[in-house]
Every structure is written in C-alpha cells, then in structure tokens.
Subunit: 330 residues, 2 copies
C-alpha cells in the first residue's frame, strides 16, 4: 500500500558545505566571488580539504522545496541521485529527518555525491562551487512509478535537464504523472539553464507542464523579452498556471484569464536570498495540493520566501505551518 | 471654428506658494508638519503675510496633468475657477505659457483665488495649507461645451466632487463628453475624498467613467479591501480601463481581460513624490488620446512620473516629449 503524497520532487541531490572565509581565501584558492561555478571531482576534493570547518546541509533546489513543503505539514517524496558515500548518507538523513521519503537507490559505483561548496565572506556574499557528481547519473530506472502515481503534483527542477539520461527520466516521470491524472510542475531554475534549453523548455510548456515557476530573469530569457510585461503577455497564452516571482515586487499568478498580482510579505531585513524561489514553490505547491484558491497559493509562496531570506541558508528555520496560521492563510 | 484637443481637464485651480522655512516657523505659526490641511480665507491671508519670499507656481492636480500633457506636445484645455485677482492672473499666465487654453471666466466677486501654501523644511518635508476659495465656486455655466466636444478625453479630478454646484458642473461636462462620443477619465485624487464620496464614486464608475486613475491607497479605500489583489479583482468587473499606480512597483493597467503589469522607471534618487500621480495621468492620457496601445500608455505614464519625483514641485522640468523619444516610446 502506497502513502499519498502532496508533491513528488525530482531534482539534483546536493549537499551544501558552507564555511566562513575571508576574501584572501577566495584569492588563494582561485574562487570566483559571488557566483556559482561548476567544478569537477578533482577541484571538489581539493576545495573540500582546504575549506575551513564547513557545515553540511542537504541542499539542491527541488530538495529545498520538499523541505519547505514538510515545514508546512505537507507530505513529500524526493527522487535524486546520490552515491553510497558519506555525503550521500548525510543527504538521505537530512531528508528523512524532515519526514520526506527518498526511495532513490544509492549508486554503489561511479561519481561521488554532489556537493556545493559555499564560501561566505564577511560582506555576506556567497561564492559557490558545485560538483554535480552522482546527480548526473539519474536515469529512467530511478523514477519511482508508485510514488509519482500517489502524488498530487510532480515537481521537476529545470537544472536536471542537462543529461540525455536525466531528460529520459524526467519524460518518464511526466508520462506517469499524466497517466495517473496528476499535475506536472516545472521550474526554469536559472537563466543560463534556459539559454541552453530554450526550445525544449518551450516544447515542454506546450505539452507537459501544468504549473510553471519562473523568476523574472528566467522568464525573460525564455521568451527573449526585455521587460516583465512582455513575459506576462507571452505566458497568457500558456494554458496552465504561471507563477512568476518578482523579488521585492511579490508575484503574479496567471491561469488563463484569471490573474492575481500579489505583493511580497514585508521583512525587516533581507540577509540572503538563496532559496527564495525554492521556498516560494514550496508554499505554492502546498496550497495547490491542498486545493486552496490561486491567490492563497501565491500568498503561501511569498510567505515561505519571506522566511528564508531573513537568515542564511536555503531552507526554512521557522515552522512555515505556524507562520501561515499566524498570517491566517491556513 | 474650435481647435481639437487631446484632453479637456476639469479641476481645482490653485496657485502653489512654496517657501523654505525651518521647524521653528511651523511651530510659531501652528502649521501641522508633513500633511495637507484645509484653511479658510483669514488663515490664508495671515500665512501669506508671514511666509518668507514664496515662489508662485500654477498648481492643482488636473492642472498639473495638463502641464504634463503640454510637455509631451499634447494639446489641452483646462476648466477651473479663479478670481480676477493677482493669484488668478498668475494661474492663468502659468497655463497660457504652456499653451494650455483656459476659457473659464474669472470671477469678479466672491472668494479669492485658491492657494496652497507650502512650507518646505530642511528635512525635505512639505507642510501644506490649502485655501480652496474661488475653486469652490465652479458651476454649470463654467463648463465650455465646445471645448469638451472637441477633446478626445475629458479628465476630471475627484477633489472637485465636494460642492453640489461643482458636482452638477462635472455631470454636465460628462454628459457633453458622452453626447459627443468622447471618453471620460476620472481620478480618485485622495483616500479621504474617496471616504467622503464612496457610493457616489462607485455609481460614477458604473455609468460614466471610461478610464479610472487611482493609486493603491485610493483604490483600497474605494473597495474597502486590504491588499492590492483585492482592488485588482474588484476592478476587473469594471467595463472601462483601470490605470492603477503603485509607486515604486510601477502600475497595472486593466481593460476587461487585457491586463498589463508595468514596472516603474528606475530613478537615481526620489526627491519629492508630489505630482507623481498627476504626471502619470498626463503620460497615460497623452498616449491614449494619440491612439497608443495600453502598455505604451502606461509606460508614458510611469516615464512622466519618474521625471517629476526627481525634483521638487509637481510639474515636469524636462521636456517629457524628449524623454519619451529617448525611451523610444514616441
């Protein structure tokens, strides 16, 4: 007997290793400041050895969203590839501790578990080096048909759309969701990701996606427009739901002729915007899976995003369920 | 033979008298800081005598909009009541200098020309004392039928909706516009104004208004809702065009199922937001009268608003036409 889930997440399984450093450390180790760079196995090993006393946290975009879903009291299952190494166990424990099922078989050979080495300098900037490792090995056999069939929504991160085998896995997951009358949600993840796969993403949008998540930069890259209204008009012909996040401007949720313009929750001080999009998706999907009207889905999203930007790290520290109840959204 | 106009404006004819003072001056003369207070003739005379070397500028909300229209190269005619006194002549000269026709007969008796005495303290705050005087005498015979019949749009400021005779004048003006196949635009002007006349404004919205201008506070007061999306949903059943300004969040323009979400133009520094709404209306109405699509009308509006908030005073200092051409909007 399979449990029912609100959301099945499909994404890169990454362990974040966060350490405080100074600018001199970045210079010495040739780390580009304030951006995300992809690195290989050797460079990852080298940086892991020199990074001073890093804190490990299960991370990755869709996995962060599942953490937010759990914080709302939602039930989630996550699929993503790790190896049977120390970081892979750390990732699995992180999800399990939050009550998120993680049925994906750990690889017993091949690349190590992915990690994102994050150096935080005193000015608050985050310099990220990501080794994708085992993430890139995700393939069709990792897709858990029963889990997807039992989930109200399948949520896929666009970052995954880079390897042919991972694409086949995503397509299989979407077929299963559709075949079981479930909804498919997709996040564009990153403007560079959109640049690489624009025409394929647009094809997915036509045929496969029921709920699209994008921020302004990603959506402008997708439609090659220069302002938000251009994006918004392009998306109005999309038959599904578009949830467009706009940082301090809140979000716009459009479903055909139904349009909602929702303001951001006010926060006293923004500390670190990492994870804002992931947590927006968590709130929105929790509301959607629980049958809430679209404006409330958007408000749950902006509420979750407002929590995560007031502290370092991409996962909620407070109970999102408690915050949502205080805001009379649950 | 009557000239054709883009816009006929109907509003309070007020001369702004602006002076730099210190806080001690406000205390000595019992002026409430940072707000607009309505004052009577005696108090106005008293303050005019003590206000140190004030600069006079033709003002008033709809008149400011006409000034913006002229700066775009639009043709305007303004109706509003002044007396045949020094300030009345100053007001008329101000409009004429911009090429705006001002056919309203100057009163030869009754209250003096309206003035708004503005004390600007070193902290940049504006403490305003408005004497409405002759403004309140506007009546049906001041409505120039030929001018309205020759204008693409009649634009009325909500501030006028306070005296029975002025209401009759507005109703006459709207009848003339409708009877000649012209459009009627209306601005809510002020949340307090909306509180006083909510049900009458809602009735106007149903029957008379083709284009509604409102900022968030005014629209929330009208529909008694607590967030922007509530306003936006209320206005979606309005059969005309709603142009909703949102300060740094730009504006939303909705006409039935057509919705545009337009960002504010970025400005290096906001100095004084007085006149932002008036200039937004100027840009929007200029675009509308010239047959531009709605998103361009909105963009012309936010462009004009962005100019006026970078300096003191409610009228443009730069040529809005030149700015619009530089922004490729004309």
């Amino acid at each position: 007997m399979t449990q029912n889930y609100d959301v099945a997440g499909l994404g890169n399984a990454i362990v974040d290793v966060i350490a405080s450093t100074d600018d001199q450390f970045l210079l010495e180790h040739n780390i580009a400041k304030g951006v995300m760079s992809l690195i290989d196995h050797y460079r990852a090993q080298q940086l892991l050895q020199v990074l001073p006393g890093g804190r490990e946290l299960a991370g990755g975009s869709a996995a962060n969203t599942m953490a937010g879903l759990a914080s709302f009291g939602g039930r989630g299952v996550f699929m993503g590839k790790v190896r049977d190494d120390r970081l892979g166990q750390s990732f699995a424990r992180g999800l399990e501790a939050m009550g998120i099922d993680f049925p994906t078989r750990r690889a017993s050979a091949g690349p190590q578990t992915a990690c994102c080495l994050i150096a935080v300098t005193p000015d608050g900037q985050r310099s990220m080096n990501t080794y994708l490792g085992a993430c890139r090995e995700l393939r069709e056999e990792d897709i858990d048909e029963a889990a997807i069939a039992a989930s109200t929504v399948l949520y896929v991160e666009g970052y995954l759309w880079d390897e042919p085998a991972a694409k086949a896995a995503i397509e299989k997951a979407m077929r299963i969701a559709k075949g079981n009358g479930r909804k498919v949600a997709f996040t564009l993840s990153d403007p560079f990701c959109v640049e690489r796969w624009r025409s394929e993403f647009i094809a997915l949008l036509k045929d496969q996606i029921d709920i699209l998540f994008a921020n302004e930069a990603e959506a402008m890259a997708l439609f090659e427009t220069e302002d938000f209204d251009g994006v918004f008009q392009s998306l109005r012909s999309f038959p599904g739901i578009a949830a467009l996040t706009r940082s301090e401007r809140g979000c716009v949720v459009a479903a055909g002729q139904e349009v909602h313009v929702l303001d951001a929750h006010k926060v006293p001080r923004v500390l670190d915007t990492t994870g804002a999009g992931d947590q927006f998706a968590a709130g929105f999907l929790f509301g959607y899976a629980r049958g809430r009207p679209l404006p409330d889905c958007g408000r749950l999203g902006t509420l979750a995003a407002s929590e995560v930007i007031t502290h370092y790290g991409a996962r909620p520290e407070k109970s999102l369920r408690a915050l949502a109840m205080a805001a009379e959204l649950l």
